[in-house]
Every structure is written in C-alpha cells, then in structure tokens.
C-alpha cells in the first residue's frame, strides 16, 4: 500500500477531522499525543499526518508534499491554488460577511475595508461594482471600524458573538465556509485508489452525521 500524507490544520479542526476518520473506519489510536509534534505517523494505516497552520494547508497540498489535506473554504477562496476540491466535510461551518458600526453608510469616495482576506474582499466588491480600498490586517479585525481605520471589515462569522461584543453589526453575507477535503492533482492520479477510498468513506460519514 502506498503511503498517504495528509496535511491537517492544527487545533480544533484537526480533532474533528481525526474523529471523522475514526468513524469512517480508519484504524487510528483514539488518543493522539499532540503536544508540539508536527508530524504523526500511523504505520497501521500507512498514513502520516502533518500539522500546519490552516492558511498553509493548501500550499503543502499544491506542491504535492502532502497528498491530501483538510482546508477551510475561506483559505481556498483566498489563495486560488491548483488543488482538487473533493468533499465538503461540513465541519467548522461559518460564513464570511462584511460588518461595521451600526447605521453607518460607506464613505462615498473610496470606503476602506479591513480584512484578513484581501483577495476575497476585492473580488466581492469588484463584483458588486463598488470601488474600495482594501487594508490587510492579520488579526483583531474588529478594531478597525471602532477606531476609524476602516468603514467595513470582511471577516469570518461563526456565532456573531465577537461582532456583538465589539458593537459591530453584520451587513452583507459573502460566502458560506466549511472544511473541505482537498487533493494534489498528481497524487489524485498516482494514488487514486487510496484517495478515492478515503473520500468515499468520509463522504459516507458526512452523510451519517448530517
């Protein structure tokens, strides 16, 4: 059996996806010692997990150092990498939306948009014919409208609590997000039987959990 390398985002998504693989019948140890390890070998199943930053998972998969991976749709939309999107795992569901201070209109000349997702934001506002200036931030996006850096933010919303706590309201729904199973185009061919088997079993699990 060929070795399969799976790139996983660290943290909660890893745990959920790992659980799904167990439910799909993969022989994985129930408890996995995470600590600071970046690689986990599962010799029984000829599987190796590599643990990466969520934003980096598609990079590993595109270059083929990981055969498949689990990545958020937000990252896939933002980076536009050459990977195959095989399956919606329906975990960590949320959405991307624009938000701002309540009852405000956008600046008429060139409203500023603060975001972690410059590409998604640019594409969205281009699509609706709005001329905007994108400001890329790396975190605490909610701060931007509060102190007057931006008119709107474009960010992930899961429960809406963070927005509320910072006195922001949601304006436009941009895209639905969940975790996806992605594959490298070459691995998808060269390790076809393994990848298709894994995808089919996970698909069954997704259906059962639905």
């Amino acid at each position: 059996m060929s070795e399969l390398t799976i790139a996983m985002p660290k943290g909660r998504i890893f745990e959920e996806a790992y659980q799904m693989l167990i439910e799909a019948g993969f022989n994985l140890p129930a408890e996995v010692e995470m600590s600071r390890k970046l690689m986990i070998e599962i010799p029984e199943e000829h599987i190796r997990f590599i643990l990466a930053k969520p934003m980096d998972v598609p990079v590993y998969v595109e270059h083929g150092v990981a055969d498949i991976g689990i990545a958020g749709k937000d990252v896939l939309l933002e980076q536009q990498r050459e990977v195959h999107e095989l399956l919606d795992l329906k975990i960590s569901s949320c959405y991307i939306a624009s938000a701002g201070l309540p009852q405000t209109t956008m600046d008429e000349v060139a409203p500023r948009i603060a975001t972690k997702y410059p590409h998604i934001a640019m594409k969205y506002y281009k699509g609706i014919g709005e001329q905007v200036e994108i400001i890329e931030l790396n975190g605490s996006i909610e701060l931007a409208p509060m102190i007057g850096l931006a008119d709107r933010i474009v960010d992930i919303v899961s429960t809406g609590r963070t927005l509320k706590e910072n006195g922001l309201v949601e304006y436009e729904h941009i895209a639905d997000i969940s975790s996806r199973l992605i594959a490298n185009p070459v691995s998808y061919r060269m390790k076809a039987s393994r990848i298709l088997d894994l995808a089919a079993r996970l698909k069954q699990t997704v259906k059962e959990n639905d």
Partner: protein
C-alpha cells in the same frame, strides 16, 4: 520603488547551472533521437510573435502573457506555448508541402507569474504536433508516443488520464435544463471543484433523475480504468464510439496499464474539441504535461483539417529525474609559463584520446581545483610530473 540589485533577475527568470544544463541536454538528446526515428521533424519558431495572431489564439491566459510593443506600435508577445506558432507555420506553409505533418519541438516558452516570485516564468517544453490526420489513429499515436517517450527518458511511475470534450458536453447538456447551467458546471470542472459541482447541481432544482445522474457521474467518472463504465451515462454517439476505438488501439499497443479515463476532464480552451489528456508522474506535485485534439485551433487559422499533440514541461521532468552519472574522465593539465608549448602538446594528445582536458596556468590555481578532476598533470619548465 526599491532599486534593482546587481545580481537580480526579472521575476521568475532562472539561470541554468552546468549540472542542470547537462541534464537537460541529455533529455534533449534522447528525445531528439526518439522522435526522429518515429518520423517527427524538429522545428524552431521565433521567441516573439504578434499578440493578435499567437497571443489571442493561445491556450494560455491573457494575464500570463509577456507583452511588448514593436516600433510600429503592434503588440507582441513572448511565445507562451509552441502549439499555436507551429499551427501558424503549418497552416501558412508546411501543410501545402506535406500532409499529414509530424512536427516536434524543444523550446523555451514564457508565462508571467502572478504569485510567489520563485516560480519559473521561462521554461523549456517539448512535444509533438500531428497535423492533418483527423482519424483516431493519430490520437492513438500521440498518446503512445507520449508514453514511450517518458519510458525512454527513464520515467517509471506515470499515468495518462484521458477524457473527451464531446462526451462531457453530451452529459452536461443531457442532464441540465439550460446551456447556462451546463456552462456553469463545466467551469467548475475546469477548476476541479467537485464540491462546487454538487452544490451547483443541488441549486439548479433539476428533476430528480437528472440530478441523481449528475451526482453519480461526478462520483464515478473521474477515475475509470475501463471505458465501459461510462456507457450508462451517455447515449450512443460518435464521441463514445471514438473513445471505444481509441481504447481499443491503445490495448493493441499494450499500453493500457498507463492509462485511465476521466470524463470530467475539461480545459478552459474551447478549441479542444475531442479527446484530451493530462500526464502525471510521481516525484512532482504538478502535472507533467497535457495534450489532446485541437481541430478548433486549425479552424481559427482557416484550415479545415485536424491536429493532435502533446507538450511536456522539461523543468518538471528535471525535478523528477535523478542527476545523470557522468562517465567522462576529467583531466587537468597545469603548466608553468615557460612550459606552455609542452603542455599544449600534452593536452592535444589527451583530447584526441577522448579525455575532457582543461589547460590551466599553474600560478592562477587555488588548491581545491584539484579535487574536481580525476587526474592532474603538472608540466613544469624542467619536465613533466604527474
């Protein structure tokens, strides 16, 4: 703007160092011999072409083209692929002399990079074009040539995935209600977004029989080892018959092991009208090459015949293949200034015997140079020491 450093190169441009140069030459030699004895003639076309003819017709996206202007204000492009220039030459001249034409190339092409600076914007590509034969035998020849060429170069683990634009179009049209829906699904398949495909099918609100068929198609048609498995989705048509014949010919050629079928395979270019394929090999994360029948491109150049071919990216081959073992023996002849004549004589003899011989003034040599040669001969003013 920051100033350009002395050693900087334009984005995506690379130097080729001796080791890689030798490796490329080796591939070129094998390829040249391999294709020539199969009746393919190599040709060369200019690096710069008109945007209106080559740039527009090329399969490469507009944003990836290097554009420049000539002194009359025409827009030029650095050639982004070799297929379009070859079709230009063939349709204007060569096809009038000989049909069918078998042409081959080994050339550098240019594609501007938008992301991540280090990716090559100029790289070598090799391939063949078989022009003027519209039968299935031409397609079989092209696929067989691709497989055997990769074997000749020394590749072991590779796969050719074959699809057919006509069959896909037939499935998409039959199971959707409008041309827009079919186009939207095709677009998603070009991006290989199977999740998006399923979501789109659900959103169309199609009759259950149709949506079920599409869902099953997307699950099964991406990886078929036998052609029969597609038949339940497609009504009997010419394209299916064509693929049957093609599969049969590849069977006769005993190449079936290297092949599988993916009827969701789709290209963003509409001139791929018939069968199309992609080449994958273990060792590189990116596809090695692709090919197919592109009768539509010939029609754009006003020729009513067909053509088929493939292109392989040499830079990705280099990534996969091990460095060749060099069998030549290198000799270094060092001389004192006074003994130049004697050293020259010695060098000539060695070169005539086939040794790669470097002649070097001894006073300029640093110690580590010796380590790079199998044999060092020193010619001093008094005589010869080895």
């Amino acid at each position: 703007m920051s100033s350009i450093k002395m050693f900087e190169k334009p984005l995506g441009m690379r130097d080729t160092f001796p080791q890689i140069f030798n490796k490329t030459e080796k591939i070129r030699e094998v390829t040249k011999h391999f294709l020539q004895i199969r009746g393919y003639d190599f040709i060369k076309t200019p690096s710069v072409e008109y945007y209106d003819t080559i740039g527009r017709a090329s399969a490469i996206q507009d944003a990836s083209l290097f554009k420049l202007f000539d002194n009359q204000g025409n827009t030029l492009v650095l050639r982004p692929d070799m297929t379009t220039p070859i079709i230009r030459v063939a349709s204007s001249k060569l096809l009038k002399e000989k049909t069918p034409l078998r042409l081959a190339y080994f050339a550098n092409v240019f594609r501007a990079q938008e992301f991540e600076g280090g990716r090559p914007a100029e790289f070598e590509q090799m391939g063949i074009e078989l022009i003027g034969d519209t039968t299935v035998f031409a397609d079989a020849e092209v696929i067989a040539t691709a497989i055997e060429l990769l074997q000749a170069i020394g590749l072991q683990e590779f796969k050719i995935t074959i699809g057919h634009a006509g069959i896909l179009q037939c499935v998409l049209t039959d199971y959707t209600e409008s041309a827009e829906e079919a186009a939207q699904l095709r677009e998603l398949l070009v991006k290989r977004n199977y999740v998006g495909f399923e979501e789109a099918v659900e959103s169309f609100d199609l009759p259950k029989a149709k949506s079920d068929a599409l869902m099953q198609f997307i699950n099964e048609a991406t990886n078929l080892t036998r052609l029969e498995e597609i038949e339940k989705y497609v009504r009997k048509n010419e394209a299916l018959q064509y693929m049957r014949e093609l599969a049969n010919l590849l069977d006769v050629a005993e190449l079936a092991d290297y092949i599988d079928f993916d009827f969701t395979l789709s290209s963003h270019m509409n001139y791929y009208t018939g069968m199309l394929f992609e080449v994958f090999a273990s060792g590189s994360g990116f596809a090695l090459g692709n090919g197919g029948r592109y009768d539509g491109l010939l029609h754009e150049f006003g020729v009513a015949t067909g053509a088929t071919g493939f292109g392989i990216r040499v830079d990705r081959l280099l990534e996969i293949l091990p460095l060749p073992t060099i069998e030549k023996q290198n000799v270094l002849v060092l001389f004192d200034a006074e003994a130049f004549g004697a050293a020259l004589q010695q060098t000539k003899q060695l070169r005539a015997q086939g040794y790669h011989t470097t002649l070097q003034n001894k006073s300029e040599v640093c110690e580590d140079m010796h380590a790079l040669y199998e044999r060092v001969i020193v010619v001093t003013k008094d005589g010869e020491i080895q």
